[in-house]
């Protein structure tokens, strides 16, 4: 596989952040990705859904440039950041050092402080990672991704391990940060509601191919009670092979169910922590 910087490929439209053609990946005799074609525009927020084991993380790793065993063509920006499900902080480095890990330049520290400010953790810059709560640690890892000013932000189930209340805060945070820094985003999740709440476009990965590509067209705040929201959810769940009604849990599928308007756009509103 060749991961190439966008600048290297003159054929690519200037508003594209990701171009993938015929991406394939096998583990042993099992072909996990069977020809993925994917385009993501600059500043676009794309969610990727799929069942467990369908290959979502494999796609994300390929875009991050971490997979040396995939075949096909992959064009991505040079500046990329990854946020994993686990915060993956170095336990022996203080919070601020973790944020600026690998950064060079004398302004690294001040940029790191700003990034911590943005996730509401400025006061914790001298803490050891093991003293942070799960949500705090994940915010640090988001700060570590942001401080690199990525053109492509890759998120692999970043809130999978967090409780429902913290997830809601994190959703607002992610939307706000996206509005401010506008990277292209590939957000891997298995939570349909989360995908609809956050993304401009939702992809579904089934049997090694992108089987569905739906824009999220909901005007105004995205409320789970909105009929358009419900319809989209039904379609995505059907694509994922889950019959919403027979599952019996109803909307939210067992999560705490809140009306959750995403209403924190450009305002400098603080996420209460």
């Amino acid at each position: 596989m060749t991961v190439t910087s966008v600048s290297a490929a003159a054929t690519i439209a200037t508003d594209q952040a990701v171009l993938v053609r015929g991406l394939r990946r096998s583990f042993g005799s099992r072909e996990v990705l069977r020809g993925i074609d994917l385009e993501i525009r600059r500043e676009e927020f794309v969610a990727l859904l799929g069942r467990s084991g369908s290959g979502k993380s494999t796609i994300l790793r390929a875009l991050a440039g971490l997979d040396k065993g995939a075949t096909g063509e992959v064009f991505v920006p040079r500046q990329r950041s990854v946020v994993y499900q686990d915060p993956r902080l170095l336990p022996w480095a203080r919070v601020l050092s973790n944020v600026v890990l690998g950064l060079e330049g004398e302004d690294a520290t001040s940029r790191g402080r700003l990034a911590l400010d943005e996730v509401g953790l400025r006061a914790h810059e001298d803490d050891w990672p093991k003293t942070l709560s799960g949500g705090e640690a994940q915010r640090v890892s988001i700060a570590r991704a942001l401080v690199r000013e990525p053109d492509l932000l890759l998120l692999d189930e970043p809130f999978g391990a967090l409780d429902a209340l913290t997830r809601i805060r994190m959703h607002k945070l992610v939307v706000r940060l996206h509005k401010r820094h506008h990277p292209a985003v590939l957000f891997v999740t298995h939570d349909v509601d989360e995908a609809i709440l956050l993304a401009d476009r939702v992809l579904v990965l089934t049997d090694g191919r992108l089987s569905l590509d739906l824009p999220v067209q909901i005007d105004g705040p995205r409320l789970r009670s909105d009929p358009a929201f419900a319809e989209l959810r039904a379609r995505l769940l059907a694509e994922l092979g889950v019959d919403e009604l027979s599952e019996g849990a109803g909307p939210g599928r067992g999560h705490l169910h809140f009306a959750n308007p995403i209403d924190v756009p450009d305002s400098e509103q603080e996420i209460v922590t």
């Binding site: 991050a64 440039g65 971490l66 990329r80 950041s81 990854v82 994993y84 686990d86 993956r88 170095l90 336990p91 022996w92 480095a93 890990l101 690998g102 950064l103 050891w128 990672p129 093991k130 003293t131 570590r144 690199r148």
Partner: protein, 298 residues
Amino acid sequence: MTLSEVLGPPVQRGQVIADLAPDRSPSAAPRLIQLPTAEVDAPRRRLQSLRAGPQRLLGVALLITVWEIASLAGWIRPQDLAAPTSVVSMGAHLLANGTLETALWASLQRVFWGLAVGVPLGAVLAVVAGLSRTGENLIDGNVQMLRFVPIIGLSSLFVLWLGVGETAKISMVAMGVMFPIYINTYAAIRSIDPRYEELADVVGLGRWGRVRRIVLPAALPGFLVGLRMAMAVAWLLLVFAEQINASSGLGYLIVQAQTYFQSNVIVVCLACYAILGLLTDVLVRTLERLFLRWQPGR
């Protein structure tokens, strides 16, 4: 007795095994117990920690008293083991005429140089073996093989090669120190979470950045465990080396005392070893507190 007699009749599917379940009627309220919390526990714990120091000292004092009484009563012959009072006065005497200081200084220097050579050597070998496949192949096999050769058995070779001078003794200490340092540091590097490797890729850490920010800090706890073992090994080997051939040092003093049946001098020297061992342990603990602050519970 047959098995079915022991187990009783087989349980049928769907059968309620009422007599196996304890009485769960609502009237049988569980008794509540109070769990230790800070307030509840504090006075007791304070008392315990207050007592700990004196109790330890008391234990030592008790042993020494029994020993003294046994000596006074003539149950222990002075040529076998001198009485504590005799040991203390001999210690004071040796200090006053400078014998003890000279011996201590000679031994300390040997241990210092042994550590100064062996510790960096073990650490560097471990890092090289931990970082590169080639290094691992070249170094690790040798070390794993040599570690089963008793160092004390090697002493004859050292004497053959290096004579009976300082170099032979220092080399032996260095050699013995190298193994615990190498083995523990190498194991720590090997067990670094591979996800950090991926993280290093993602944030674009270079080779030196990886070593400095990931490998060395991750190796440090193992290294310090190795260091503590190394300190113990160093004193052990030194006494041995000094008893075989030396004209100075604590081991030499012991051999001398042995020749003249001065058990009190021997005990003075052993006490010195004990104190030095304790001091070096305190040193490593301090290093651990300093460098491993990030570990929870420190």
